[in-house]
Each structure stands twice: as C-alpha cells, then as structure tokens.
C-alpha cells in the first residue's frame, strides 16, 4: 500500500490517540482501552465490531495490544470508513421509533427500558450515567431533539 500523505496523516492521528493510553511509553495499551481509542478516532462501531477488532489485534490473550498490530488494522478501518458516523437524521428517526407519538422527548424510564433490554444492552452503571448526562433536571425528561445537536457540538469544541 503506497504511503500517501492521507495515510501518513491518518497514522499520525492513530498514534496520537494510542499514546494517550500508552502509560509506560512502550507502544502498548491495555486491551480494555481499545474501544475508547477507536471511538475517539471518530468511528462508530458496535460492540460486536469491537470484539472482532480486538480479536485481531490483542497480543495472545495477554491483556494488551501492541501498536505494531493496532496501526495497520486501524488504518484500514479509517481508510475504508468501516464504522461511519451516524447522521443526525438517522439518530432522530431512531428516537422517534421509540417515541411513537413523536413528542420530541421521552421519559427517562422509557428510554432506560429499551436500553437495558434490547440491542447491545446497557449495564446498570452505563444506564445511570446516561440518565445523568441526558435527563433535563427541571423537566425530568430526555429532550432528544435538542440533545442530539447539542452533544455533537460539545465534542467538537
């Protein structure tokens, strides 16, 4: 694969993200941090995607991943845009599937119900965190319409 400047750029980004978790400065990270690294590079994999990725790059069940294995696999992911971001409209539609009346908001318990029983379910801890982050305190509702654009903005600042 020829080294284009795009690839070089991508690899620099990957290395930078990797090194945030490389505590001993020896080009390895704990395997549990891999998902955070992948997400932080702008990807939106499912948990199953992450498991498959980890299987490919983990050092023989040793609990850590070496940059030498991580870099090529991650570069490919970014070049091929394997886990593209979710367009805002899709996200909005997803909420509206769950909020059948399309009120623009949901009660915390409603969302929690779905998150904990369907798809790649949330643990109780994840759920609690999500509620703290998303619930509007005064109304005790998740106003998803506003949230979607606000949270995207948050990360880009």
């Amino acid at each position: 694969m020829a080294e284009t400047s795009e690839t070089a750029d991508i690899q620099r980004k990957i290395r930078a993200a990797f090194h945030v978790f490389d505590h001993k400065a020896d080009n390895t990270v704990d395997v549990r941090e891999v998902s955070t690294i992948i997400y932080s590079l702008g990807c939106f994999p499912t948990k199953a995607d992450i498991h498959r990725f980890v299987d490919e790059v983990e050092e023989d069940n040793m609990g850590y991943v070496h940059l030498d294995k991580f870099l090529p696999v991650m570069t490919k992911v970014l070049l091929e845009n394997k886990f593209p971001p979710i367009p805002e409209e899709n996200l909005l539609q997803a909420f509206e599937v769950l909020d059948k009346e399309r009120r623009g908001y949901m009660e915390p318990q409603e969302l929690a119900k779905y998150m904990k029983s369907e798809g790649e379910t949330f643990s109780q801890e994840e759920m609690n965190e999500m509620l703290t982050a998303l619930v509007d305190e005064k109304k005790n509702l998740i106003c998803y319409k506003e949230l979607i654009s606000q949270l995207t903005l948050d990360l880009d600042t």
Partner: protein, 717 residues
Amino acid sequence: MGCGMGKSSLQEKKCTRVSIYSVPAIRAALLIQRWYRQYVARLEMRRRCTWNIFQSIEYAGEQDQIKLYSFFGFLMDHFTPASSERNLISHIFRENEICRDTEWERYFCYKDIEVPDSYTGPHLTFPMTFCGVSKLVEAFKQKQQLHARYVLQILGETWRLLRILPNINHVSVCQTKEITICGDLHGQLEDLLLIFYKNGLPSSEKPYIFNGDFVDRGKSSLEILLILFGFLLVYPNDLHLNRGNHEDHIVNLRYGFTKEILGKYRVHGKKILKLLQKIFSWLPLATVINDKVLVVHGGISNSTDLNVVSRVDRHRYVSVLRPPKVVHQTLNGNRNEGDNGPAEGRRRVRSLTNHSSALPQRNSLPRRSLQNSSISHQLSSSVEDELKRRRRLAGFDQTYKNANGSDSDSDPDFAEAPEANGHDWKQIVNLLWSDPMPQNGCISNEVRGGGCYWGPDVTEEVLGRHNLQLLIRSHECKQDGYEFCHNRRVLTIFSASNYYEVGSNRGAYIRMGADLVPHFIQYQASRTCRDLTLRQSVGWTERSALRALREQLFVHKSDLIRAYREFDPHHTGKISMRHWASATETVLKLGLPWRVLRSQLVSRTHYGMVDYQQWIKELSITEPKLEVSDTSILETMYKNHSNLETIFRIIDTDHSGLISLEEFRQTWKLLSSHLKMEISDKAITDLAHSIDFNKDGSIDINEFMEAFRLVDLSAHG
C-alpha cells in the same frame, strides 16, 4: 411481559420468541446505544488526556525533587567538609544523630509550654481516650487548631508507641469483624471525615488500616496525623498505619507539609517537625491480614523479601530518598555502588530499559566550581576521576575518612556492613515508591525517580513465595478511587477525592471480612462536583489542567522559542504543527500528546502553521509584583519555583521562615550549580535587594514565593 428467564437464555430464544419490541425498535435501540457509547468514549478520551497532564506534571515534580536531593548528596560527597555550601545543606543528611532517646525526650518535652487562658481550642488529657479523640475530630471539623503543647504531647506518646511496633503489622480478621483499608489522604481532611461519617470511627469493633501518604499537598495534613495518632493511642491493636513515601521530611520540604507546620506553629514548629521526622521513621512499613493479604503503600519488586523487611532497622531510614552512606574506603569502580540516589540505586535492579535521562544529571559535574571550594578549577566529566584527582591533590584520603568518623553525618554502625544496609534500603524504597506495570519484568521507575515498575510475573512470584493471595497498595491516583490489575492480584486504593482538581476523581475505601473479598465504597468530597454532569466535570478538570500546562509553557518561554527557531531557519516566525509538537516535547519532556493538545493550547493556526512568536506572547501569565531587570533570572525562578522553595527551606535551619541575604545568595549558587548555568553575582545581589521587602537584611520565604506565584491572566474561570 416479564419472563422468568435470565438474559442469556432470553437471547438464545430470540429467534423463536416474538420480541416484545418490533425489529425497527431493536435497530433503533442499537443505533442509540452505539451513538451514546461513542459520545462517552470521546469524553473519556478527553478526561484521560487531562489526567495524563496532571499526572505527568506531578511525577515530573517528584523526579525533580529527587534529582535535587541527589545533587545535594553529590555535593556532600564531593566537596570539602569545610565548604560553606556543604554546611548549608549538611544538616539534612545528619540523620543519625548520636543523642540517645532520653536526650530527645528532654528536647521534645512539652511540660514547659503554657496554654494561655485565651486559647479556645480543644484541651486534651492523657492517657488518650476515645472521648478525647472524638473531641479532637469535632474540633478539627470546626476548624480549630490544637495548641502546640498538646500537639507535642500526642506526638511524644505516638513516638513512644511506634518504637515498640514491628516493621510489619500482622492483623487478623474474623467472622464478626470487618477491617477497613484506606489509601492516600494527602492532607484532605474532608475525605477522612467523609470516611468516618460513612463508615464509623475506629474502635475495637471497627479496625482500620491507613496505607500511607497522610500528608502533603492538602491543607490539613497535621490534623489528619493527629486524628490517626489519637486513635492509634487509644486502639493500638485496631488502628494500623503504614509509612508512605510522603512520610519523609525531605519530600515534605517541597510538597507543603513543612510549610503547613511552620505556618500554623510559628514558635514550636521546628520542634514539631523534628519529632515528626522521628515518628515517620518509626512508622511500620507494611501490614499483613490473615497471613494472606499484604498491604503496603507503593508496592514490591522482584527482590522483595518480607523476612528481610521484618528485620531491618526501619528507624534508620529517616528519609528514604538517600541510601545509607557507604564509607569512602573504596575509590575504585565501587564508588558509585552504594551511594546513589534512588534513580541510580534502581539501576541495580535488573533493567530492561536503557539509561534514563535522570542519570546524566547525577554523574555530570557542575561546570561552575563553588565559591569557597579550595579546589576550584575546571571539573572533569567523570565523577570517579574527579574524586581521585581531588583526593590526590588535597591528600584527603585519610583525613576525609577521619572527618567522617567524627562527623555526626555517618553513623558508625553503617560502616560495618554497607552491603547489607544497601540491600535493606533497597527493600524499603521499593515498598514505598514502586508502581505496577502491565508487562512482565521489573525495571527502575524512572518516571518517579524511585522504586521500580513491577509486572504480573513478579506479583505471582512474590505473592507465591510468601504464600499470599492479594497485594493492596496505594500511591497512584485512580479515577474511581480503586483499580485492580495483574489478574486482580494487585489492588490500588486511593482515598483522596478530587485530587488533581474538583471533579477529577472519586476516593474509595475497602471493607474486608474473613473471606478476604474486598468491597468498595466510593465518594467524592465536594458537594458541587457531585451535581455536575459528566460533560461538565470533564470540562472543569480539563480547563484546570490546561491552565497548569500553560503555566509550564510560560515558564519555559525562552527554551521553547529557541527550540522552535531550530525548525524555522528562515525566521518566518511560523512552524508546522508537527514541528511545534516535537519541539515542545523536547523542551518540556512531559510525554504528552502535543498534537492532540495543540487545538486547545494554540487558538489560531494558518494553513497548518503555528505562529509561535505570537502565541508565546499571548501566553499571558502575570509578571511579578516587583521590578526584576534580569529576565533570565526571572524565568529561572519560575521554572524552578519548587526547587527554589525546597532549597530555601533546607537552608532555613531554624525554620524561622526567614533567610539572610547571604543565605539567599548561597541558595542561588546551589541552584545554579544544580542547573549547570551561570548567574552573575551582581544579578543575585540586585535580586536580593529588590526583594528584601522589609529592608532589614532578611528575606521572608513565604513572601518571596508569593511574589513569584504564577497567575494565569488568560483564564476565564
């Protein structure tokens, strides 16, 4: 519609059962989960970056401290006993004074200290009782200060008790009694009070282990000590204290405990500090629960041997930073063997890495010979050669050894078995300073400058050898207050919440019963941060970390510009982002991801180029309140803030908080030797006069440090 089945069987049957929710709903849920997890992960990335900033600045400070102390050790070893510089600092090495304990008892006697009627703080009676300590806790909660007489009394009793305790506490936990284990507190009284509130006060039904680092950084280190010692006196079999690396008077000089004591006790502070020095050296080194769980502050190394540890004379190691003095009999290659600071000492541990950057500092000599040294010519690059040459020239060999013999610097007992003492010292340093690492092996801990990094194989081996099943340690701040590693065989527990900044981390403590299974209770002391959302608390901590980082950048202005210029041969004033990142790391050496941080530190870039001149100008941190014409001295002052303060406090032998102009000048000489830079006498004299606020020939250390405290002008909250 509830099914009585567990989740996994539910999922198995997914194909056959009719879903409660339709397929679109499942897909919607999946999408939302994916989106949310990404959001959280990106916040986590930011939080981790922030964490790394704080941690690297913290550890760089520790390394700095050890380098400074090593440098003093070097001065002690290589300059004549008569040189004034040596005299300035020799007392910090005079650790094994010949006075006997009875003489110390007389010195620490509190009986002549009167408590005036105007005193509104708590009055203590001895022997200490549970009521007495509770009263003390209550008083500290009300922010009262204990009178020096009572402080000395408690400390005296504590010292007497600690002297009869073994190096390793052995405790047993039975069916009816759980034990509570707490990690670093670092002077944060609110956290200790929170723990007592949630968990109850120590008693025979409620035993506790406190795993070191009670002091430094926080504002109430003494109050924490007094409370812990109070309970120790009342329940000596149920309250256990382990020594941490901050229970060390040299570390305290830099990290605030010394300052706290002197500030709170102007008259008796010095005595209190001296007594605390002894107490720290008498603190036990480790605790073992039910012969199965080892609790120690830092950790272990591949050579850790608890049998050796239980036999050492722990009180000889008043400061763990410096190894015991090996007598200067050997002039050959052994010269460096026993006499190194922790950075060098660790090299003897089987090393898998190359030499660190810490080493050259120690081995290369100051280029400027010190003022009164009778051998003042160009110093060569090799320590051994230099020493040999000086000895030869001055005919020192015999006289130096004799001087050592009568000098109270070295304890005659040390001369007997230097190797054994070097080995003992190594054991202790490792227990107090080491950190775990994910990879196998055991290497020197060059980030901190003391102790080692040990891997899971070492954990298995050491635990196995001692028939233990779990190692509980502290020493490292953890976001959730605790963290397992090494296949859950090592557990880190950290009890100082909001350690780096409000919202940075929770504290935690462990409850453990006879089954030896740890249960965790987490908390966060400040009420404000509990109400913050994830996003807000990350933002807050982040702003604080960036402020700290901008400070570091500011104090290294000249070096940074020089480094940037190397990438800008045509003096355009601009360099690429990549070069900016690389140059910044070369100067600051913090190991941070500058490319990632760039967007938060440099607001404007043009076509991927950084206008470094402009940017440096915009790093607005306040100028000092004084007129100091020499900007390079100013920068040195900012850059070496902590080192300067440490040297000041060392030189201030009577702990008065004041040093003379002459001592001030000597401080700068020491610092400039340590940094290997030239500072003209005139510049120092001018500086001294300009900061002699009272014009009385002496300089108030606190006032001086205040005048040069950095304030970030660009911060917006």
